[in-house]
């Protein structure tokens, strides 16, 4: 299983590519000049809520017109080009389905609209892949969020597309369902499909995607191998708020350590800056013991995903 992420140049043979794509709503820029090209494999679009992931996926799926630039699938522009849907399966984030249709009928609807020769067989196959056979005769209005998610995926893969786009596909799925869905996507990728999914949860992307596109504030903050990006995230400077029996003494002793490169007082608390979290974690208890200081609390101040992403953008 191979996957490629490249910023340039984009060639017409790439499964999915975007060239300097932007989208704005009035004065709000949702996606800002993003370029990349993807081949077969699993790519995660990672970013905080509101970063522009959904907008980007909708432009990839031909559902939104780019304000500038263009998105192509197998060399063809996606906007206003229904023919490309022969190759695409799209799973939207919204859980709305036709509540009066059974799961099977919903997937059959998709199969019919793809003009498949054997609608029943294709629908049953797709339902089996998402393990919804037991519930396929029930109206989707009574499904849980996770079941709706799975039946939506079944409808999107019923024509066995070579490109699958999924917007936050694991929302609402329980851990077991999540693992099964991940296995299914891995299997599809192993068979040569190009899969792009969005998520704001780092662990989801870590478990599934070989490649990642980090989107922050509509910009491509980082792209490439997930592990390299993960290392960047881990190795970034960390800030740690300190509370001890003698903050000043403890801080003075720590500042001499190579792992600590700064100290400041924020809202009456001592905040230490370190570039090596692992080394800091080893040295801090030793220094505390040497200085006869009791540590009450040491807490990171900037561990939110947003701050991690902001760091990537600043680099």
């Amino acid at each position: 299983m191979t996957a490629t992420v490249a910023e340039a140049p984009v060639t017409t043979t790439d499964a999915v590519s975007v060239e300097s794509i932007s989208r704005w709503y009035g004065n709000v820029v949702a996606v800002n000049e993003i370029s990349f090209a993807l081949g077969p494999g699993i790519t995660g679009l990672l970013g905080p809520n509101g970063a522009g992931k959904s907008t980007l996926l909708h432009m990839l799926a031909g559902l939104l017109r780019p304000s500038a630039g263009r998105a192509t699938i197998l060399g063809e522009s996606t906007w206003a080009n229904p023919k490309i849907y022969k190759h695409i399966g799209f799973v939207p984030e919204r859980e709305t389905v036709y509540p009066f249709l059974t799961g099977l009928d919903f997937v059959k609807l998709s199969a019919r609209m793809h003009n498949l020769p054997d609608v029943d067989a294709a629908a049953l196959r797709a339902i089996e892949r998402v393990e919804m056979t037991d519930a396929m005769g029930r109206a989707t209005g009574g499904y849980s969020k996770g079941m709706k998610q799975r039946v939506k995926i079944a409808a999107a893969i019923v024509h066995e597309p070579s490109i699958l786009l999924l917007d936050e596909p694991f929302n609402g799925a329980d851990p077991r369902q999540r693992l099964r869905m991940m296995d299914m996507l891995r299997e599809m990728a192993a068979n040569g499909a190009t899969i792009v999914f969005s998520s704001h949860i780092l662990e989801e992307v870590e478990r599934l995607a070989e490649n990642v596109l980090v989107i922050v504030s509509g910009r491509l903050a980082a792209s490439g191998d997930f592990h390299a990006i993960r290392r960047l995230m881990t190795d970034r400077p960390h800030s740690i708020m300190l509370r001890s029996s003698d903050d000043r003494r403890f801080a003075s002793a720590l500042i001499g350590q190579p792992a600590v490169f700064g100290v400041e007082i924020v809202d009456g608390h001592v905040v230490l800056h370190t570039s090596d979290l692992e080394a800091f974690a080893l040295v801090a208890p030793r220094i505390a013991k040497e200085q006869s200081v009791t540590i009450y609390e040491m807490a990171p101040t900037d561990e939110s995903l947003e701050s991690v992403f902001s760091y990537l953008v600043r680099r």
Binding site: L64, Y85, Y98, M113, N115
Partner: protein
């Protein structure tokens, strides 16, 4: 495919709560006719049926309101709740999606309004000319098609299709067309009356029509074709985004 989408759309529309309201409106029309029948009205049945029942109630209110509810919701609701994505991400020419989205609400509007007009007409007309009832029903069915095409188009052009449609029905067709006669040539209500009048036949000017039947029919065809072509073109370029 079109037949399958047609049945899906009919089911969608029938299951909406507002459809119950529209059925209630139809029953109200029948009730009004029944009350006339058992009352001692001084108005002749022919005149009451054409001027009050059809001209004053069915053509003026029930037809446009029913068409407005079905026409603006048939695609508008799907775009709003996100289910339109399941239709638009398929390798189908857009007209194959649009066609059932026009035919389904047209059939439903024709069934409801035509049914109410037929039953209430036969109740009210008594021994009068039943050609009036037939003329009204045919005119209503033809007018329904033009209204539906217009309202489906509106739902693709604006998020406020219901309000714009109400303004068209009550301000444009109701108030302005009453004052400025020329506006009646841009009024589906007057096309409906013109066609009904022509088909009703042997009683001249039964529905106070402003135009001949052939003119009405041509204008209905022009409005319908224009709206359908415009809607098809609009559907090619419709954008679907996640809830902001």
């Amino acid at each position: 495919m079109i037949g399958f989408l047609l049945s899906l759309t009919v089911r969608q529309q029938v299951l909406r709560k507002s459809t119950l309201l529209l059925i209630g409106l139809g029953l109200l029309v029948v009730l009004v006719a029944f009350v006339y029948r058992i009352s001692d009205s001084s108005m002749e049945p022919d005149e009451w049926t054409t001027k009050v029942l059809y001209g004053g109630l069915v053509v003026t209110a029930m037809l446009p309101l029913t068409a407005l509810m079905f026409g603006t919701s048939v695609l508008g609701d799907e775009l709003e709740d996100g289910t339109a994505v399941y239709l638009l991400t398929k390798p189908l020419p857009r007209w194959q999606i649009l066609l059932p989205k026009i035919v389904a609400p047209w059939l439903l509007t024709s069934a409801l309004v035509g049914g109410a007009a037929l039953i209430s007409g036969f109740i009210a007309i008594q021994d009068g000319d039943t050609g009036v009832v037939i003329g009204a029903v045919v005119g209503l069915v033809a007018g329904a098609l033009a209204y539906i095409a217009l309202f489906v188009l509106l739902s693709l052009l604006t998020n406020h299709a219901l309000i714009v449609g109400l303004l068209y029905v009550f301000i444009w067709e109701g108030a302005l067309a009453g004052v400025f006669e020329g506006i009646r040539y841009i009024s589906i209500r007057h096309y409906t009356l013109g066609l009904s009048d022509a088909i009703a036949g042997n009683i001249p000017d039964t529905f106070n029509a402003y135009m001949s039947g052939s003119t009405a029919l041509i204008l209905i065809a022009i409005v319908t074709a224009t709206c359908v072509l415009w809607a098809n073109q609009r559907l090619q370029l419709i954008e679907v985004r996640e809830r902001p």
